[in-house]
């Protein structure tokens, strides 16, 4: 068994011919959603399945993930915290602001936050950054996975309020939640165009790749904030 650090805090574990993505368990002994725990040289890793996480899929698709050990991350669409838990592993000295608007899912997310020292749960609508601007500080990275028709607007308003200059946006775009019938390729093209031209915040697209076969009809996008905000 061997491990290789692919990106800060993100590892590739090779065992018996298979390769897995993994993060170092911030809370050793605890599996969050049934993922496998593997101990290598006194260090416990949590296996990270790209089919269950857009961020893991982006990693496999060779995005240059900008999340570091001490990053501050605003995570929009935290759901029950599957991916959030891995981000929490990665930013062991940073903090994750996890925004989710469904109270039902929030219940599970709180269970996760209770076990981990670096997740701040926020029950709020990501369309309204002003409703959590008194809690969230300027962040290094915004990760967004909300599956909403107005995904790029949500990204723009949040980047405007919270993303530091030269900070990164990681965005998962689900074609079907924007247009159920259109060809996903066209939907993606249009969203990218929107991100590049329609918002005051000024995104520079650094990378965009489809997340298939892990997530069909999903596009991963990484962008940087160019302009200084008003």
């Amino acid at each position: 068994m061997s491990t290789k650090e692919m990106s800060s805090g993100i590892f590739e574990i090779t065992e018996r011919g298979g390769k897995h993505l993994a993060t170092i368990n911030l809370v050793p002994g605890a599996s969050v959603y049934g993922e496998k725990l593997i101990e290598i040289e006194g260090c416990e890793y949590r296996i990270w399945n790209p089919k269950r996480s857009k961020l893991a899929a982006m990693m496999i698709k060779k995005f240059n993930i900008p999340i570091k050990r001490d990053s501050k991350v605003l995570y929009l669409g935290a759901a029950s915290g599957t991916t959030v838990s891995h981000v929490s592993d990665i930013v062991s000295e940073g903090i994750v602001y996890a925004v989710e608007f469904s109270p039902r899912t929030m219940r599970d997310l709180i269970g996760l936050c209770d076990m981990r020292p670096n997740i701040v749960p926020i029950l709020a609508d990501a369309n309204k950054p002003q409703s959590y601007a008194h809690i969230v500080e300027e962040v290094d990275v915004i990760f967004q996975d909300v599956a909403q028709p107005n995904q790029s607007e949500i990204a723009a308003v949040n980047a405007m309020q919270f993303l530091k200059r030269n900070g990164h946006l990681l965005l998962s775009i689900k074609a079907r939640s924007i247009d159920t019938v259109a060809n996903p390729k066209n939907v993606f093209k249009n969203e990218i165009r929107k991100l590049e031209h329609e918002f005051d915040v000024g995104f520079e697209i650094l990378d965009s790749r489809e997340l298939a076969p892990f997530h069909e009809d999903h596009l991963g996008v990484m962008a940087r904030v160019l302009r200084v905000r008003k």
Binding site: S102, P103, C113, E138, K174, R229
Partner: protein
Amino acid sequence: MKIITWFGTLTLDDYGKVLEWDLFPKDTSALAEILVQPKKVEIDIPPACFDIRAAAIECGFVGSTEEYNTLLRDVSIRAAKKQISGGTPDMGIIQAVEALDDIDDAANTLSERLAEWYGMYFPEVGLSSEPLARFVAKYGSRSNIPTDGHLYEKATSSMGAELAGPDEELVKGFAENICTLYDSRSRIEDYLVKSMETSAPNLVNIAGALIGARLVSMAGGLEKLARFPSSTIQVIGANRALFKHLRARAPSPKHGIIFNHPQIKNSPWWQRGKIARALAAKISLAVRMDVYSDGGLNESLKTELNAKIESIKAAHPKPPKRESKAGMGKGKGRSQNKQQNKQSNKKAGGRR
């Protein structure tokens, strides 16, 4: 400018420098309490580039960035717990649906009274319920109808008594009250649509917000609804003893609330049972998605449902003939068909 943060209110100068501060008590539970309270409008949110963390340290609220993290985390968890324990949104949905029924009851009774009352003065008005209430609230006596009003002719030639003075005031006020009931009704409906879209987007997509809300309400909550088999979902609301209010609006008391769905209501009677079954099956899947999966809308359910309905319509373009029953009796389809026919016949019989 005065801004609010989770730890206190701050006064900033034009460059975002903190001039004055008024800190909240440094107590997890008190801070959480403040966090969940709706914010006052006259206070701003921090400007985009403002460093809340540095400000907290500068004001001496916390001694270090570690302490900032720990405290903020504890407070947020406490606040989030408070927010979700304040009743799940489906509790609100249940109450709203019941309020809707109560309003309908009250509005019906009062509207009937108004119809009878106003009928003394303008029997030819030809309106009832909400339109009548709106009309009376607006004009009062028929003599106030403008010459270009479409009831003007009828009003001038009416054989009703004259309505004026204290009588007019009374009737008009009564109608106005009924109108506020209808206003309140439509606000409740808006609320239902909104909160259903957030807590059960897939159910809304398949059943529509209002029918979905009724299902949730009758099941006693979204999670309970998710545990119902689709055969139960198909007949929810058919129990007229329990849901007497519904009766008036349901097309037939033998059928569940989903028979109000346009896809069923607008289909010929012999297709309805089959469409209801398909719809109930999809509703059941949709609710489970809403409750057990990570959220988001799954459009394929709707696509599948529409395809299924198309195929039902294509396979049964004509009403079944009674004789055909024997001819079709093959395999396991038989008992189902029989039941179906029985139901349909009853229904058809009831209509004659």
